[in-house]
Amino acid sequence: MLDLRVPSGLFFLILGAIVLAVGLLQPELRAPLTDLNVNLYSGLSMVAFGGFLLLLSRRATRK
């Protein structure tokens, strides 16, 4: 059976990396109503979430 944690983990790693890259390369990018570098923080959290899913899946297969 396909372990869903692998494709979803990969998906969020890639998605997070793209958004994080925008946050790093264009740190001055802002939407009208916010002063934060939104891409940086959301990219980081998506990478963390993707990594977490992959970690769970690796631990499950090692058993």
Binding site: L2, F11, I14, I18, A31, T34, L36, V38, G43, M46
Partner: protein, 558 residues
């Protein structure tokens, strides 16, 4: 709203993944049971999230932000009153019969418990309903993308339908369920930042409370009389109509959601599916409703130069400018999301649309293949034949949904009318299941006539009452303060009529012998207690935790 190249890249990555998941699952589809029922083998955390995501369509996301802006925190009643209690009831009391009876669908349960005509009535109305509801949501999405991004309506509708078709055709229900989980994560990733940013900008919850009328920030305080709260609903109509009849009717008998739990790997997992799903469900209002409420507060705040931070979107209706709440979500996104995250938010919106549509299509093909085709058209074919029919039905279901979307573009009123009619059919259904599962004396004739008379009662209630100029085609016995109150009362009347007529007709007809109903009715079913399962994995423990949490939320925002 303008998209940058990076936003399109994100959208493309997402499309590649959903189709890729379907592609990886395609080899496992060797029987009709694999394709239509997932072979009852999916882990519980996946079925639980799919259970919630199948219901989280684009209309829900757009509609809940819209209602948040229109009615305030009372909108959360649709979750805390109108969903959680029903979900808990379904997991604890109804799932043992669905899963234990080995029925492959909700209509098939009706066949096993009652008779052929009750199943036929339910299967047909359900099949028509799923096609039209996925068509309506496709229409809503196409319209929104056209309005917000200037995309071509035809292209948006056809492209998204093609992607849904690709992954459901390849991997059947398993693919739909797996993608629903991915879509659920993406919806959270795409919209949680909006809730956080908009709420923070509006001064936090305290800042919102200080700027909004009090009846928009309290969910229970103003429920005493219909005239005091923005929804125009009084407490009894809300709790009995929405919290009891409508929500139990939806969550406990709609095959679209029940199917997700039925795909679980064993009885205990099937019962835990709705209960575990209830936990993210009760926190969804913070993601889907809160931005709408914050939008109203932002619209009253001024920035540098005295300009409003945000203006509620408007539309022209018969020459009058009215607020267009359906655009609240997308306009907020453009105010808070820069290129990059905007792509994630938009992909989340597409994901919600796809999960809603795939949910409808996978429920449609199962009910059509097993309850209509195998029952009335071709009975004793080999399983490979039904696998082929299931796959063909998937294609036909998507095509019919596209057709329904175009019907909606031509006759907007017809869609309103259809939704009204479906409401009439759905309202009494929970009464039939309640009696069927918990009263062994109820009979097939009772169930059928109860359903028909309940549906008629719903129609008559609508035809003799008026709300916001709607209904009352046979006269006006009562005027409701809002169509929502009218809907709740239609459901109450239909449910009561269904219960009374089913009971009366059942008592006048011959009961079925007990031995034919083993596993189908309470009292004749040996519900296995969860021996060997640790206490925290038992359905009852979970149910108590869920109920305590939801009570706490209600008090918090009372």
């Amino acid at each position: 709203m303008k998209l940058a190249a990076v936003d399109y890249v994100i959208l493309a990555v997402y499309f590649a993944f959903v189709i890729g998941i379907g592609w990886m699952l395609r080899k496992r589809m060797s029987t009709s049971g694999d394709f239509l029922l997932s072979g009852r083998s999916i882990p519980v955390w996946i079925t639980s999230l799919a259970f919630i995501a199948a219901n989280l369509g684009a209309q829900e996301l757009i509609g809940m932000a819209a209602s948040g802006a229109k009615y305030g925190i009372m909108t959360a009643h649709f979750y805390w009153v109108g969903a959680i209690p029903a979900i808990v009831f379904m997991g604890i009391f109804m799932m043992p019969f669905y899963y234990g009876s080995k029925a492959r669908s909700v209509p098939e349960y009706l066949k096993l418990r009652f008779d052929e005509k009750t199943r036929g009535f339910n299967a047909l109305t359900f099949a028509v309903m799923t096609v039209f509801s996925s068509g309506i949501s496709m229409y809503a999405l196409g319209l929104l993308l056209h309005l917000v991004l200037g995309w071509d309506f035809n292209m948006s509708v056809l492209a998204s339908a093609a992607i849904v078709l690709a992954y459901t055709y390849l991997g059947g229900l398993t693919s739909a369920i797996y993608n629903e989980v991915l879509q659920f994560f993406l919806i959270v990733a795409g919209f949680a930042p909006l809730a956080i940013l908009s709420c923070q900008r509006a001064g936090g919850w305290a800042g919102i409370v200080s700027r909004l009328p009090a009846n928009m920030t309290h969910s229970w305080h103003y429920m005493g009389s219909a005239s005091e709260n923005p929804m125009g609903v009084e407490i009894f109509g809300m709790v009995a109509g929405l919290g009891f009849v409508l929500s139990f009717g939806y969550w406990c008998t709609n095959f679209l959601v029940v199917q997700r739990a039925m795909a679980a790997e064993n009885m205990s997992a099937a019962r835990r599916t709705p209960l575990i799903g209830a936990i993210p469900k009760m926190f969804l209002p913070f993601i889907v409703i809160l931005p709408g409420i914050a939008a109203v507060a932002l619209a009253q705040m001024t920035g540098a130069g005295g300009a409003h931070l945000y203006d509620l979107p408007t539309k022209l209706v018969d020459g009058v400018v009215k607020p267009d709440y359906d655009q609240v979500l997308t306009t907020l996104m453009s105010k808070f999301y820069p290129a990059g995250l905007l792509g994630v938010g938009l992909t989340g919106l597409m994901a919600s649309f796809m999960s809603g549509m795939a949910g409808n299509v996978t429920a449609f093909n199962t009910v059509f293949t097993y309850d209509i085709y195998q029952s009335y058209i071709k009975k004793d074919a080999p399983d490979s034949h039904y696998l082929m029919v299931g796959k063909m039905t998937t294609v036909v279901g998507v095509l019919l949904s596209i057709g329904a979307a175009y019907v909606a573009t031509m006759y907007n009123n017809i869609m309103d009318l259809l939704q009204l009619v479906f409401g009439f059919v759905n309202a009494p259904l929970f009464g039939t299941f309640l009696l069927g599962m918990f009263w062994k004396r109820s009979t097939g004739h009772g169930a059928f006539w109860g359903l028909l008379s309940g549906t008629s009662a719903a129609f008559l209630t609508w035809a003799t009452t008026v709300a916001e100029g709607k209904g009352g085609i046979f006269g006006n016995l009562h005027t409701f303060p809002s169509t929502m109150a009218q809907n709740f009362w239609i459901a109450i009347m239909a449910f009561v009529t269904c219960i009374v007529i089913t009971s009366l007709v059942s008592l006048m007809t011959t009961p079925r012998p007990d031995r034919e109903m083993e596993g189908l009715v309470y009292g004749l079913t040996n519900i296995r207690h969860d021996e060997g399962v640790s206490w925290y994995q038992r359905p009852a423990t979970l149910a108590i935790i869920v109920l305590l949490l939801v009570i706490a939320l209600n008090f918090w925002f009372a």
